[in-house]
């Protein structure tokens, strides 16, 4: 099937088998590998992307649902080739250890800050509750999101 949608701020035309999920399309069809496979069943959050600004699990959404919509992945976060506020805050806070959860975390955090520019620590915890991290204990991730919010 043919798909026309907006991917990371650019028009995108892609071909995909009908059974493909957004995760399949990104990784296997478009070689955009920032979006990770962690469970394939909507639990771990490593495949989080923003569909029309809303965080969704790429492993659960069929690629056909992309038609005419806007998709943002971690590859699209940079600002003119420079890391954006959240990316910089994550790097500076030491929020990425193995880094496998990082792209998904960044996108959930971005959706949070778009809806709530000055979140409390608890808001951050709630917004990231669907993104598992096995390395960091979350402390520095939460610090990074609060720092990025403060930098606005």
């Amino acid at each position: 099937m043919r798909l026309d949608f907006t991917l990371n701020n650019h028009p995108c035309r892609a071909e995909a088998p009908a059974h493909w999920t957004v995760l399949d399309l990104l990784r296997d069809g478009l070689a955009l590998t920032a979006t990770k496979y962690g469970c394939g069943e909507g639990v771990c959050g490593t495949c989080t992307v923003l569909l029309d600004g809303e965080p969704v699990r790429a492993c659960l959404v069929l690629a056909s649902r992309l038609r005419g919509r806007t998709l943002l992945t971690a590859e699209g976060l940079e600002d003119n080739g420079q890391p954006d506020r959240l990316q910089s805050a994550f790097a500076r806070a030491g929020a990425a250890q193995c880094g496998f959860c990082t792209p998904g975390m960044l996108l959930s955090a971005r959706a949070l800050l778009a809806a709530n520019p000055s979140p409390t620590e608890h808001d951050v915890r709630e917004a990231l509750a669907g993104n598992l991290c096995r390395c960091t204990g979350y402390t520095k991730i939460i610090e990074a999101v609060l720092a990025a919010a403060g930098a606005r």
Partner: protein, 775 residues
């Protein structure tokens, strides 16, 4: 000592790649003509394989290979630390596991056939079409049952895989004289690593005909295992280490390597192999369940006099690293305490449960539950403050641990305990049905390998003509910042900004062998190797600068990428000119060096006496918990951790290890268990196997002490594994206080806590809660 780079927190070079979502992991690379691998696994934990029929699978269009044991050149994977275990093994264990099962399977998930196909979908369909006829056999699913006469044998030769012992003094006699004795049994389950990146790799054959595997692994030396299995010269297999999406010991054993190598070698095409989350749950090594029986005796004034400990671990269906995990348990069994009389018997036993092997702390986390549970129980029996009891018995410099090894530096245990406890702040009252309580656990975890493995690591450091430096060292980076720390060490020694040092490689062919990123050894071992190499490069740079600046060597200072004469800052030369001049003069600007850890003979097989490890990391964690007495729901609200890390290399990375280790430990404490029914996993999915989320993780206060007494570079100790050791024990002690009834079986689920609460209210003589005094 003031350092320019060491002890600070410059963002790690890999952090920028990671936040940009760059393709740095083993699963991110695709190649033209790449096939997709799929493994057919046994649904039975114990069965005979009557017949394997692959014809229907082979007939499927798009299927390129369907391999069974018959196609594996040498179908025996030896599970041992590469090349370094022979002496310690002493003929007792050389565990092997088939790459693909032949006539029988011993655990659910054991690989039986390997498929390569044009698409993942075709590979999956082919897997369905491999017809395996099984004849289920009686199995054994509990170590105690497995040791009974007449139990089915998992392997020929019986189910007892290995035993270790300590005999120091006369524990039985000393216990008879003790004023108080506390006797308790603790139980822990199988636990999964749940790294977010499942076992992953891609392989191909390069221009020289070498088999190349790019794998998520902690051990690049597994290239040898692949070569052995394929009967290839070792030099014909190359392992390239990608950044790992988490390891925690689970990527220490061979995961995809041999299966992937086989598929690539047979098809002569690139192949990608990614385990699904379910395969990761059932197909690969877990943390060992333990049964821990402790009997501790003390005098009326609280001096420990003796401990008797029996440990039984479930090795699962194959040996993997079980004997060595058990050895760590043996050495740490009595905790960081002076105990004059010790008897420890430790056993690891085969069952038809999942294979158990390495997992962060390597057998130290279970014993901490035992020895720290005992300290709180003894304190209650003596009506003594548990902190005071610990303080009285903590190991000090010059004391002997249970194996007789003398501690050569001050463990600072009392300070770590007091600092962690105080960091919890003023005590807090519960509210309504919510009880609030605190508890702590001190701990003791080795860093670096057993002394008799004669561990070593090599590294190369060299200057480039632009004045920057490069480090080559085959140390896999599991996410703890291993690579970045090597850059920091080089930058410190050479007087370079850390951004001017690049680490390249992590490759079994092209970078000097550094050994495994396991056993909390990489900073200690490769860190020292890099330190030595960097010092040699420094010597050459200083020589060259002294000549060019016409000054004495002693007066040359290297800083911020320049050499200058101390006291005369206008007499300076930058590294780019310096390196060019040195090169023109034929002076070396690079060095390959090797660090050998101090070695010692194996411990005595009967008494366990000897020097098992070169050094240990000591620390304490304290937690505050809320327990709902109506539901048994338990939450950890605050966690404070204090360790002597010797010297932080990257402060943020050291803190990150502790925060992450503690939250992983909280998962063990409250949530995590691989639920098995006769060897079959009931929860091989993240939906049913819960790990902590942002809402479960507490506020964490991390305190780093820096004694400078470690054996690593700049006096550093290792922290990766020690970070996790005391967490479950601390939570258990806090929940036991809140419930006013002992909790000894992990995880401490709401049901178990509720049962404890009920048993307490039903009991006529509830034991008094221990004091909440701050130390």
């Amino acid at each position: 000592m003031a350092y320019r780079v060491i002890g600070r927190s410059p963002p790690r070079a890999d952090a920028w790649e990671k936040v940009r979502g760059r393709p740095i992991y083993a699963g991110d690379l695709a190649m033209a003509g790449m096939l997709h691998g799929k493994i057919v696994r046994s649904p039975y934990p114990s069965a005979r394989i009557v017949k394997i029929d692959t014809s229907e699978a082979r007939a499927l269009p798009g299927v390129v290979a369907v391999l069974t044991h018959a196609e594996v050149p040498q179908n025996a994977l030896r599970m041992e630390l590469p090349g370094r275990m022979a002496e310690a093994t002493a003929g007792a264990v050389l565990a092997t596991q088939p790459v693909l099962a032949e006539d029988r399977v011993r655990f659910q998930g054991e690989p039986v056939a390997a498929i390569a196909a044009e698409t993942p979908e075709i590979a999956a369909e082919a897997a369905e079409r491999v017809r395996v006829e099984y004849e289920p056999l009686p199995g054994v699913y509990d170590p105690a049952e497995a040791l009974k006469p007449g139990a089915p044998h998992v392997h020929e030769g019986g189910n007892l895989l290995r035993a270790w012992h300590i005999r120091k003094g006369d524990a039985t006699e000393a216990l008879a004289r003790a004023d108080v004795i506390v006797e308790k049994t603790y139980r822990t389950p199988f636990v999964d690593h749940v790294y977010l990146e499942t076992e992953t790799g891609i392989g191909w054959i390069d221009a020289e005909g070498t088999l190349v595997l790019r794998v998520s692994t902690q051990v690049l030396e597994h290239f040898r295992d692949v070569a052995e299995v394929l009967r290839l010269p070792h030099g014909k297999v190359r392992l390239e280490g990608a950044y790992l999406g988490g390891g925690f010991g689970g990527k220490e054993d061979v995961t995809v390597e041999c299966l992937l190598g086989l598929l690539v070698w047979k098809t002569r095409r690139p192949v990608q192999l990614v385990f699904s989350r379910e395969e990761s749950f059932i197909g690969h090594g877990k943390r060992h369940p333990y049964l821990l029986r402790y009997k501790s005796g003390a005098t009326r004034t609280g001096e420990l006099v003796a401990m008797e400990v029996e440990l039984v671990s479930d090795s699962g269906a194959y040996a993997a690293l079980s004997p060595w995990v058990l050895l760590y348990s043996l050495v740490t069994a009595t905790g960081p305490y002076r105990v004059p009389h010790v008897k420890v018997d430790a056993f690891t036993v085969y069952t038809n449960n999942p294979v158990a092997s390495a997992y962060r702390t390597f057998g130290s986390i279970q014993t901490c539950i035992g020895y720290e549970g005992q300290m709180d129980a003894l304190a209650a029996a003596l009506s003594m403050d548990p902190l005071e009891l610990r303080e009285k018995n903590f190991l000090r410099k010059g004391d002997r641990i249970a194996t007789g090894q003398v501690l050569e530096s001050e463990p600072m245990l009392g300070e770590t305990m007091r600092r962690a406890w105080q960091a919890l702040g003023p005590p807090r009252e519960g509210d309504g049905p919510v009880r609030v309580a605190r508890g702590l656990a001190a701990s003791f975890t080795p860093y670096g390998r057993m002394c008799w493995t004669r561990d070593s690591a090599s590294a190369w450091v060299g200057m480039e003509l632009d004045g920057s430096a490069v480090v080559r060292c085959a140390a896999p980076d599991v996410g703890g910042g291993q690579t970045s720390s090597l850059c920091s060490i080089t930058a410190e020694v050479l007087g370079l900004p850390v951004e001017h040092v690049a680490a390249v490689g992590r490759d079994s062919h092209f970078t000097p062998r550094a050994g495994t990123t396991t056993a909390t050894r990489q900073l200690f071992m490769s860190g020292n190797a890099v330190l030595k190499a960097a010092h040699e490069v420094r010597r050459h740079l200083v020589d060259q600068a002294a000549e060019m600046l016409e000054a004495a060597r002693e007066d040359i200072e290297l800083t911020e990428g320049r050499a200058l004469v101390r006291g005369a800052p206008d007499r300076a030369i930058d590294f780019s000119a310096l390196v060019k001049a040195a090169t023109a003069a034929g002076r070396p600007v690079q060095a390959l060096d090797k660090y050998d850890a101090p070695s010692a003979p194996t411990i005595d097989p009967i008494t366990g006496q000897g020097k098992p490890f070169n050094d240990y990391t000591f620390g304490t964690q304290a937690v505050e918990v809320e327990v709902d007495e109506e539901t048994g729901q338990t939450r950890v609200t605050k966690l404070a951790a204090c360790y002597d890390v010797g010297q932080a290399i990257n402060r943020q990375s050291a803190e990150g290890q502790i925060e992450g280790g503690a939250v992983q430990g909280l998962g063990h404490a409250l949530l995590e268990e691989v639920v098995l029914e006769d060897g079959v996993s009931k929860n091989p999915h993240l939906l049913d196997y819960k790990i902590p989320t942002t809402l479960d993780a507490p506020e964490i206060i991390t305190i780093l002490l820096e004694s400078g007494q470690g054996l690593g570079p700049f006096g550093a100790k290792g922290i990766g594994e020690p970070a996790m050791t005391p967490t479950p024990a601390a939570v258990m002690n806090a929940v036991t206080r809140a419930a006013r009834a002992p909790l000894t079986r992990f995880p401490l689920t709401a049901e178990r806590v509720l049962a404890a609460l009920k048993s307490q209210s039903a009991s006529k003589n509830p034991s008094p809660p221990s004091g909440e005094r701050a130390g």
